[in-house]
Symmetry: C2
Subunit: 473 residues, 2 copies
C-alpha cells in the first residue's frame, strides 16, 4: 500500500524515466485498481502531498488534473478531493493515460483548470459568453420539428452558406455553399478526404516539422507519409518533388506553418499548384488559424489561387471560437462535390443541430467578424506581452522566433539543451509545453519549446511563468 | 424555359423512370442553374402548381421540401416562396440530390415539414422541450473554462458513467464508464470498430434483410459483407456458419431485428456467442431501439450474456431522444479498452461539450428514465392506433406483421405487388415509406412497406393516411 489518506506516501524515484507527475498518477491509479482506495475515500490535498513529498505544487496538480479528467477523482470544494463514487476497480485497471507522448496526452487530457501555455486554445477569458448563451437559449426555445430530425450530413445549409460568405470576404476563396462540408474537426476532415480521394498505399507529402496527428491518421488509414522539410519560406516543394514526385497529395499549412509559423512563399505556392495540376495531385490546405496575423493583413488562402480545382481547404472553429464546439469545415473543388456527398452519405453522422444553429446565428448576426477583429488585436498584445516577459527572464537561455501570426511562441533553446527533457520538467511543474523535436520526423538538432500565449494577459504574468521555467532550464 | 413564375410549366412525363416529385425538383434546379430563375425570384405556390399540373398536392410539397432542404428555395410566409437570395448558379449545377435510392435520400433529406411515416424518428410532439431548453440554458450559463477546451475524445466522463449505469439497470449490461465510448451515431460507431478490429478484406456477417448503411459502410472500408438470412428467430446462425465460418465479425440487431422486428432467440444467441468465442470473432450488437418493446419487458441485451468479451454493444440517443443530437455510444469488452482508446486518439474529434452536458444532466436528473417510460406507453398506443387505422382501410391489400416492439410497422403486400413501385407512388403523394426489397440482398419475393408510426397519434389519422395509400395500391 503506497497511497491512502492516512498513510504516508513513499518517496518518488528521481532516476525513473517517468516524470514525477506521472509517477504520482500511476500510484493513485493502482491504489484504486487494487481497491486500496475505494470510491468516496478522501485523498490528501494537493497542498498536503506537496509538503509530504517535497515536490513542486504544480507536479501534484498536474497529476490530480489528469486523475480528475479521467474520472478517478473529484474535487468537492471544502469537503476535499475524493475517489469518484461509483467507480469500479476495473476502470483504473483498463484506462491508463498515454505514457510519454505529449501529443497523445494533449488529445484527451482535459484538465479541470487550464495549464499555462496550453496549446491549441483561444483566449478563454475573452470568449463572448453572454452573447453565446443568449443565442443558444434562443435556438433551444425556438426548436422546430425540422430542428429535431437528422441534420443534413453535409452540414446545416445556413451554416454552409455563412461559411462560404465568410471565406469569400476574409480569405479570398470563391466557393458556393454546396462546396462546404461541415465536419467535427481536423481529423474528421482529413479522414473524409482520405475516404473520398486516397487509396491504401498512396504517398502523401507532409511538412517536417508538422502537426503530428496528420502522420498518425494517414498511417492508420494505410497511407505512406513523406516528410518534406520546411524552411523560412514554408515547405520546400523542390524537396517533395525529389522525394516523391508522384505522391497523391500534399498536406500543408500555408498561412502559418504548423508549428514554425512561417508563410509559404508565393513562388512555392505556385510550384505546389503546378505540381498538383500536372500530377493530378491534391493539396490539402490546413488553415487552422489563418485569421491570426498581427503585423499585416492576413494573407489570402492558397485556395484562392487554385485555378485547376486541386486544393481542398480545411478550416475550423476551434481556434476562432472554442475547441469544445467540435465544428470544422472542408471546402472541396466544384468537380469533387458529388464524390464528397456520396462519401458523406456513407460515413458521416452529421454534427448536432444545436451547435450548428448557434454558430450560424453567431456568424450571420455579425458577432463572428467582430470577435475575430477583437481577438486579432488582443492576441497581438498578448503575444508581445508574453514574449517580452519571457525574454526578460530567460534571454540567456532562449531566443524567441519572430513570427507574424499564430497562437503560440517558439522558444529556441540556446546551447545543446534537450527540449524534450525541459518539457518533461515543465509538466512536472504544472506548466504545459510541447517540444519541437516531437513534431519532427528524424533529428535536425533543432530544440525549441512551443508555448501558447493566448491565455496570458500581462507581461508581469509572463515574467512569473518565466521564472518558474528558469529554475528548470 | 420550363419553370418561371409567370410562364406555365410543361406537363410532366408519366412514363419517365423518375417519380413526379423528382421531375419537378430537377426542373427547378436546372432553371436556377441556367439562370432562368434568379435569387429572390418568386416561384409558384404549391397550391397553384398543384392545380396547374393536375398532380397531388403532396407531390409538389415533396419537391419543394427537397428544394428547401438543400437551400434552393425559401418559404417567406405571406410573401410566398422565393429562390434563395445570394444563391449562385453553380450551387444548382453541383449539388444534385440522390436519385432513386431511398436510403441515400433519407440520410440527407431534411424536410421543413416531417413527412407522414418518416422512418427513424421518435415522437417529435412528445419530446420534453421545456425541460430540455431549461437544462440547455443552465449548461450554457454555467460554462467553465474546462467546458470550453477540447472535450475528451472518449466522451465526457460524466456521460460515460451515466450511460454505464443506465445500461446496467435497463439492459443488464455490466460495464464500467471506461468501456463506454461516445460517438456521433451508428455509422461513426461502426467505423470506429472497423478501424480498431478489422483489416481490409475481412468478411463480416450481416443480416438479410438488414439496415442498408451497414453494408455500404463496410464496403467502402474494404470489408466483404456476407448476407445471412433472417427468419422468425432472427439471424440463422447455422447459415452464417455454412457461408463463412471464419468471418471476422457479425453485425446483428438481436432486440428487434432491423427491419423485421423479430428477436434473436436464446439458442441462436448462444450459438452466436459460441461461434465468436471459438473463432475469435466479434459480435456487433446494434441495439438501436432496444428500449421499445410493448407486450412484455424489454429483453436483456445480448451483451449481457457475453462471458468471453466478444460483444461490442452499439446504442444511440437518436431513437430515445432526438436524431438531431448526433450522440451514440459503443461499449467495448474490458480487454479492448486500450485499443479503442488508441484508435479514438487518432481518429476521433469528440462530440460537442454542450450536447453531451445536456444529455448527462437529462439522464442523471431522472428525466431520461421517465421519458422512456412515457414513450413506451405512447408508442404502444400509437402502434395499435396506426395498425388499426391502416388495417381497416387497407385489409384487402396488406397484412400487418405482429411485432412485439420497434418504431415501425411492416405492411406485407398481398398478391404480387411491387413494394418499390408503391413506395415511389407514395413519395409522389408526399408520404414517406421504405420498401423491404431495398433492405435485402438478392430477391426473396418478400414485398412489404416499412412505415414509422411514432408520429401518428390517432386511429382516425391513420385511416386518412390509409385512404391516401389506398388510391395508389
Amino acid at each position: 500500500m503506497n497511497v491512502t489518506r492516512n498513510s504516508r506516501m513513499s518517496p518518488l524515484d528521481p532516476t525513473a524515466a517517468e516524470p514525477f507527475y506521472r509517477q504520482i498518477y500511476d500510484r493513485f491509479r493502482s491504489a484504486i485498481a487494487n481497491g486500496l482506495l475505494k470510491p468516496g475515500d478522501r485523498i490528501p490535498s494537493a497542498r498536503a502531498l506537496t509538503k509530504e513529498l517535497g515536490l513542486a505544487r504544480g507536479t501534484i496538480e498536474t497529476a490530480y488534473s489528469l486523475l480528475a479528467a479521467e474520472g478517478y477523482i473529484q474535487a468537492r470544494g471544502q469537503a476535499g478531493t475524493i475517489v469518484t463514487p461509483g467507480l469500479t476497480p476495473q476502470i483504473a485497471k483498463a484506462s491508463a493515460a498515454p505514457r510519454t507522448e505529449r501529443v497523445a496526452v494533449a488529445s484527451d487530457f482535459r484538465p479541470d483548470s487550464i495549464l499555462p501555455f496550453q496549446m491549441g486554445l483561444p483566449a478563454l477569458d475573452a470568449f463572448p459568453r453572454k452573447i453565446w448563451a443568449r443565442l443558444g437559449a434562443r435556438c433551444m426555445r425556438s426548436m422546430q420539428p425540422s430542428d429535431m430530425v437528422h441534420p443534413s450530413v453535409f452540414g446545416l445549409y445556413g451554416l454552409r452558406a455563412a461559411i462560404a460568405t465568410y471565406l469569400q470576404v476574409s480569405r479570398g476563396i470563391d466557393c458556393s455553399a454546396s462546396q462546404v462540408f461541415v465536419t467535427s474537426g481536423y481529423r474528421h476532415t482529413l479522414e473524409l478526404i482520405a475516404h473520398a480521394l486516397f487509396k491504401p498505399g498512396d504517398r502523401v507529402w507532409i511538412e517536417n516539422p508538422g502537426y503530428p496527428p496528420t502522420r498518425d491518421l494517414l498511417g492508420l488509414m494505410h497511407m505512406t507519409s513523406v516528410p518534406v522539410p520546411v524552411d523560412a519560406d514554408g515547405m520546400i516543394v523542390s524537396e517533395g518533388l525529389k522525394l516523391a514526385p508522384r505522391a497523391r497529395a500534399a498536406v500543408v499549412t500555408p498561412g502559418h506553418q504548423s508549428p514554425l509559423c512561417v508563410s509559404l512563399s508565393l513562388p512555392r505556392r505556385l510550384a505546389l499548384l503546378d505540381w498538383a495540376a500536372r500530377n493530378q495531385g491534391w493539396i490539402i490546405e490546413d488553415d487552422y488559424d489563418g485569421e491570426y496575423r498581427y503585423v499585416s493583413r492576413p494573407l489570402p488562402a492558397l485556395k484562392s489561387l487554385d485555378r485547376d480545382g486541386r486544393v481542398l481547404y480545411a478550416g475550423t472553429f476551434s481556434k476562432v471560437l472554442l475547441p469544445a464546439l467540435r465544428l470544422a469545415y472542408l471546402v472541396v473543388p466544384q468537380e469533387q462535390v458529388q464524390r464528397f456527398e456520396d462519401v458523406s452519405r456513407t460515413f458521416v453522422g452529421g454534427s448536432p443541430q444545436l451547435t450548428q444553429a448557434i454558430v450560424t446565428a453567431f456568424i450571420t448576426e455579425g458577432h463572428f467578424a467582430r470577435h475575430i477583429q477583437r481577438m486579432r488585436k488582443l492576441y497581438a498584445e498578448r503575444r508581445e506581452a508574453t514574449a517580452a516577459g519571457l525574454e526578460s527572464v530567460l534571454h540567456k537561455h532562449i531566443r524567441i522566433d519572430p513570427q507574424p501570426g499564430g497562437m503560440h511562441l517558439i522558444l529556441r533553446l540556446k546551447g545543446r539543451r534537450s527540449d524534450r527533457r525541459l518539457v518533461a520538467r515543465m509538466w512536472d511543474e504544472g506548466l504545459y509545453a510541447e517540444a519541437l523535436t516531437d513534431w519532427m520526423v528524424g533529428s535536425s538538432g533543432a530544440s525549441a519549446l512551443l508555448l501558447n500565449f493566448t491565455n496570458i494577459s500581462t507581461q508581469r504574468g509572463a515574467e512569473t511563468l518565466g521564472n518558474r521555467i528558469l529554475k528548470l532550464v
